[in-house]
């Protein structure tokens, strides 16, 4: 008896010895594995941080714009035009309109560049030598339109001098902000040496100053005058599409989820719909673009490049998200609530619409916002339905030509004037991300509010 006892004791000690021998190695393995996990987290979070820092670092400079403060003289010598017609001098409104249109045409034919040039020269130091073409590269090309419109609106300005702010050109802005390497030789610079010297002089004497770039928010896209290119048109286009998505995807999505979850008999048909919805959620977005091009534009002849088509395509893309999320929310409703409602004599429809749906409202709302935020950033399908056309106007209806924020980003990153448009693209990305973060923040806030109340 004692013999066996001592042999088992011995065996046990032996075993312990062997286990101890391996412990160091095993704990090292544990530490390494854990370290790898932590490294993965750090790496993933590092990517998030890097991306945000990178975009912000690149985009922030684009939120300042360089303004030229000019004293514009409407010099009668340069502006040789008849006085503007007045209504009293004409017998009928029609004649007056005709005369006034003719006058406006005459005004447009004048060489307004001379006016811009004169005011630039007036602001320049006395000893500057620079030719007309070079000096005009400093101001944005649409400066002359702004000044002309001032004159059309108020013909009495002739002979007067007015203080006007116009944008410096994109190339001038690059030079001022250092977006282009200042040490590069003349051949690689986009502005001539005298123009660059004059810009520096302007900065010196306060003719050029930097201010917040409101133009990004208040202007539409522009190719002729890149410094004034803004996001307003794309933003409104995006708003139209999101409205369409919300109006169509939410009711249809919720209704479909309610049907599948609450009413549909379990059959092959509903199984098919279910598999189908799960697969739709994973279909590449570009395929939806193909669907839009073939069905909405080529077959139904909806207008090309219009938010209505973009909205419809994004609706179809968002539907699965909303259906899946709503079904999840409906499944989460406690059976007790259903039985209580049915027990009170409510019909199935009444139970669903009066008792079950209201409880799931916070989840549906969150899913909707997340779905919309997803649709907001979608680019590829919009390219296929023509929304990458250059549009320099605000779409007033969903049938007008338009583009969208992410597409505008795509267009700007492809612009040849990289020095100017890279920051501006990053700025547009900041606006897009800000809208998305705002939406997600609202979703989180609303959910916590509504869930607390419930």
């Amino acid at each position: 008896m004692t013999d066996t006892l001592s042999t088992t004791r011995q065996a046990s000690l032996d075993r312990t010895q062997r286990i101890r021998a391996g412990l160091r190695r095993r704990h090292l393995g544990e530490t390494i594995f854990r370290g790898l996990g932590l490294a993965a987290i750090v790496l993933a979070l590092g990517f998030v941080a890097l991306l945000f820092v990178d975009v912000v670092r690149k985009g922030v400079p684009a939120f300042t714009q360089s303004n030229l403060h000019l004293a514009v003289t409407f010099d009668p010598e340069l502006l040789k035009v008849d006085p503007a017609p007045v209504r009293d001098a004409f017998a009928s409104q029609a004649e007056y309109t005709a005369a006034s249109l003719k006058w406006q045409r005459d005004v447009a034919m004048l060489n307004w560049n001379k006016v811009v040039e004169a005011s630039l020269r007036a602001a320049a130091p006395a000893d500057v030598e620079i030719d007309s073409r070079q000096i005009l590269t400093i101001a944005e090309t649409d400066a002359r339109h702004d000044i002309r419109e001032m004159f059309v609106a108020d013909p009495s300005l002739l002979g007067q001098t007015v203080e006007v702010d116009v944008l410096a050109s994109a190339n001038a802005a690059n030079w001022i902000k250092g977006n282009i390497d200042r040490s590069l030789g003349d051949a690689q610079q986009q502005l001539s040496a005298p123009a660059r010297a004059l810009i520096d002089a302007f900065v010196e004497n306060g003719t050029i100053s930097n201010g917040f770039a409101w133009s990004i928010f208040t202007n539409v896209d522009s190719r002729a005058a890149p410094a004034s290119a803004g996001l307003l048109g794309a933003f409104v286009g995006t708003v139209w599409m999101m409205l369409i998505v919300i109006i169509l995807a939410v009711p249809i999505g919720v209704a479909a989820a309610v049907y599948l979850e609450e009413f549909a008999p379990r059959s092959r048909w509903t199984d098919l719909i279910e598999v189908n919805i799960n697969n739709l959620a994973a279909v590449p977005s570009i395929v939806f673009g193909l669907l839009g091009a073939a069905v909405f534009i080529n077959y139904l002849h909806l207008p090309i490049s219009a938010p209505i088509v973009g909205g419809l395509v994004l609706t179809l893309m968002t539907l699965p998200t909303i259906i899946i999320a709503t079904r999840g929310a409906l499944q989460g409703v406690s059976p007790a609530l259903r039985q209580a409602a049915l027990g009170m004599g409510a019909s199935r429809t009444q139970m669903v619409f009066h008792h079950v749906l209201p409880v799931t409202f916070p989840s549906i709302l969150t899913a909707t916002i997340i779905g919309v935020a997803q649709a907001l950033g979608e680019t590829a399908p919009l390219l296929l339905i023509g929304m990458k056309a250059f549009v320099a106007s605000v779409p007033l209806t969903p049938l007008d030509q338009a583009t969208a924020l992410p597409v505008q980003i795509y267009l700007w990153q492809g612009n040849e004037n990289r020095n100017f448009f890279e920051p501006r693209t990053a700025a547009a990305i900041m606006v897009l991300l800000a809208v998305m973060i705002l939406l997600n923040g609202v979703a989180i806030y609303l959910r916590s509010r509504l869930e607390k109340r419930a």
Binding site: T8, A11, S12, R15, T16, R18, I19, R20, A21, G22, L23, R26, H27
Partner: protein, 278 residues
């Protein structure tokens, strides 16, 4: 069927005959617990448990559900470490060595104190690999032949070898519930533990499988110190030599099994055994 029924009967007889209180009390003490408390966050689950566990005998913990018997069992091989927010106080000693001593390696401890769980939980591997897993991670087998021997002898000790010897490479999850539980016991034995903890090992099994496991426990008692948590008083009476009654996180009464069931000192124990609380 007849054979199994006979087995059950035999088991009960053999257990009865083995129940010799004096024999039990003469056994050396393997585990001692003093003032053990457990907190889950702000909630206290155990209030100062002190008990001695005798060597190579079966000790059973009984009590109504939620009484803390499983919680205490999980303290003995520090399984509570894996639960977030669990805090254990007091001391538990295995052969005089404090198992909560920071210098003690929990991996080594668990190799010495094995555990069998409520629900059979074979790994999604073959029967062979299930049993070989413990020896493999601890480096206990010197060679393939060594490992084969450990696996076969563990399966034999768990009374499963004859049933599975032709399909050692089939998945362990394909066995019946009772077989799975015996596989889990074999898996625990393979590491060569000194103590085996069993957390309601039969609660997910049918009566026949339960009888087989109970018989197995009785056999294992020869070589291992066994602590078993059970919600069945009959089971405690059948398999254990020592019984402890837990209620609301307190150890109410402990003693020789026969005494606890026939002559409980405490009123609460009496109520529980008579079925008045539970």
């Amino acid at each position: 069927m007849d054979m199994v029924a006979g087995k059950v009967k035999m088991t009960q007889q053999s257990v009865k005959s083995a129940m010799n209180p004096t024999d039990m009390l003469e056994r050396p003490i393997r585990l001692t617990a003093r003032d053990v408390t457990v907190h889950y966050g702000a909630k206290q689950a155990l209030h100062g448990i002190s008990i001695d566990i005798p060597d190579r005998a079966v000790t059973s913990f009984i009590g109504p559900s939620g009484c803390g018997k499983s919680t205490f069992l999980r303290c003995i091989n520090r399984m509570n470490d894996t639960i977030e927010g669990a805090k254990v106080g007091g001391t538990i000693k295995l052969d005089g060595e404090d198992i909560y001593d920071p210098s003690l390696d929990v991996v080594e401890l668990r190799a010495r104190i094995g555990m069998v769980f409520q629900k059979p939980n074979p790994f999604p591997k073959s029967i062979y690999e299930n049993v070989a897993y413990g020896p493999r991670i601890h480096g206990l087998a010197r060679s393939k032949a060594d490992m084969d021997e450990i696996v076969v002898s563990s399966l034999r000790k768990a009374g499963l070898f004859e049933e599975v010897k032709d399909r050692l490479n089939e998945p362990g999850t394909g066995l019946s519930g009772g077989q799975q539980q015996r596989l889990c016991i074999a898996r625990a034995i393979a590491v060569g533990p000194e103590v085996i903890l069993m957390d309601e090992p039969c609660s997910a099994l049918d009566p026949i499988a339960t009888a087989i496991i109970e018989e197995l426990i009785d056999e294992l008692r020869e070589n291992y110190t066994i602590v078993i948590v059970t919600h069945s008083m009959q089971q405690a009476a059948r398999v254990s030599q020592k019984t402890a009654f837990f209620h609301l996180g307190n150890l109410i009464e402990e003693g020789v099994t026969e005494d606890i069931f026939t002559n409980p000192v405490n009123k609460q124990t009496q109520d529980y055994i008579m079925g008045r609380i539970g």
